[in-house]
Symmetry: C2
Amino acid sequence: MSQSRFDPNFTKHVIETIGPNCTPRDREVLGCLIKHIHDFAREIELTPEEWMLGVKFVNSIGQASTPIRNEGQRISDVIGLESLVDEIAHKMVTEGADPTSSSILGPFWSPNAPFRELGGSIIQDPAPGGKPALMHGKVIDLVTGKGIPNAVVDIWQASSNGKYDFQDPENQSDNNLRGKFRTDENGAYHFYMLKPTAYSLPTDGPAGVLLKLLDRHPMRPAHIHLMITHDDFKPVTTQIFPRDDPYLVSDTVFAVKDDLVIDFLPREGDPNAKLDLTYDVKLAPKSS
Amino acid sequence: MSQSRFDPNFTKHVIETIGPNCTPRDREVLGCLIKHIHDFAREIELTPEEWMLGVKFVNSIGQASTPIRNEGQRISDVIGLESLVDEIAHKMVTEGADPTSSSILGPFWSPNAPFRELGGSIIQDPAPGGKPALMHGKVIDLVTGKGIPNAVVDIWQASSNGKYDFQDPENQSDNNLRGKFRTDENGAYHFYMLKPTAYSLPTDGPAGVLLKLLDRHPMRPAHIHLMITHDDFKPVTTQIFPRDDPYLVSDTVFAVKDDLVIDFLPREGDPNAKLDLTYDVKLAPKSS
């Protein structure tokens, strides 16, 4: 233990009380967590008052959570933990290969997004100030370089007011700005969506308290969420970020990676969109 | 960072986003906490599924908490954190001296306990199977060895069914088994209470889930809570434990210390109690 001033056997004793029927993985994970929490307390000599503030803060996280608000996940995001867990998982899946980078799922994915026709639009409702764009590209086999037919591209994004459908029932219908598309026989997809808008995390709960303590802004750079799956390939969950966003370097949930930054270009002669985004996704075969 | 397999700059980057208006102590505490949480995730290569279980568990803590149930504190106790924080605080207050050891406050102290007369009883309600005892002793100045008049001895304990008054409104009136006593001109006190009873932490919430995962029992050894205060002395919050309790070596909140183990002796000729407990408390002067 790091501080010999304190009982050197205490943490060992606590970990040794774990019983014989604890699974090996639970013993490893929970033992390591207890060790780090104790080391933290000793290193900064946590006071009883600070500890009690922490207890109240932890209680406040669950109290602010609802079926459509996951404050525990949000706190985890604000301290970079979801992004780190994503890095760990991605490194283990893809070590040595080079598919499209993953990024965090976040709390706004829905399992209920409808399949839509290629060439269709995920924009169901008016989005004042929103800029429609055609997004198109191919889902490619990392090994052969060929397009992957029948891959599923699941996309979700916030509207021009920075809110997702289920945060904003007054302005948005269910599944607005969500949709799943199947790639065609060449592995290609195309659909209409919005150029995304930067937004603030909700700051009326514990995440807001923590961000204020840390003197940090609550902004996420504009982004589009994507989850690309196919039975024969390793799936990827990611986000892509327009290059012109001022929060690109200070994303409050630490999700930006260099190869996920994209450029919207002008689009000519299309009555449905004045912007154009080309984005290809590379997937690694499951057998690799 | 411990695992060079992963981005060696990530944790540093997250900590460096803390803004200039964060207080130095908040920066130290929260930066250290973020570092340890990240190191934990890297060391055991936390998976997304394990992380999400953790997020749900954190949310469940606050959801199980109420104004009279502090599940965050209970989880903290089960992993030994309240006891460790108590050790850190006590070491800082008393380094070099040797007053009565402190132990954790726990979630059942009440600020509303009434002052009672010396020689009175904290037993307001029937306690089936409970064994009344006379507890008596002196509060002593650690430096001079003399009794301290007008010290306040605040005592609280569970009833013979293992429940505190506010957990058990059907059987116990407010402030049953709670009371404050002022020492007399010699620093002495005496009052009637119960020989305490071992009890289980409530296991119908997240603490029960965690204890089951850890394959640990939920039992606390029998104990009496004490908080002793006087304006001129450093206060002590502690617990004392009958020597004959089977859970003494495996207290599920790790609060037992050797010098807090006590013996109940037979008491003769007292119609109010057949047991006798002598317990002196040593306080360090604030000036020392």
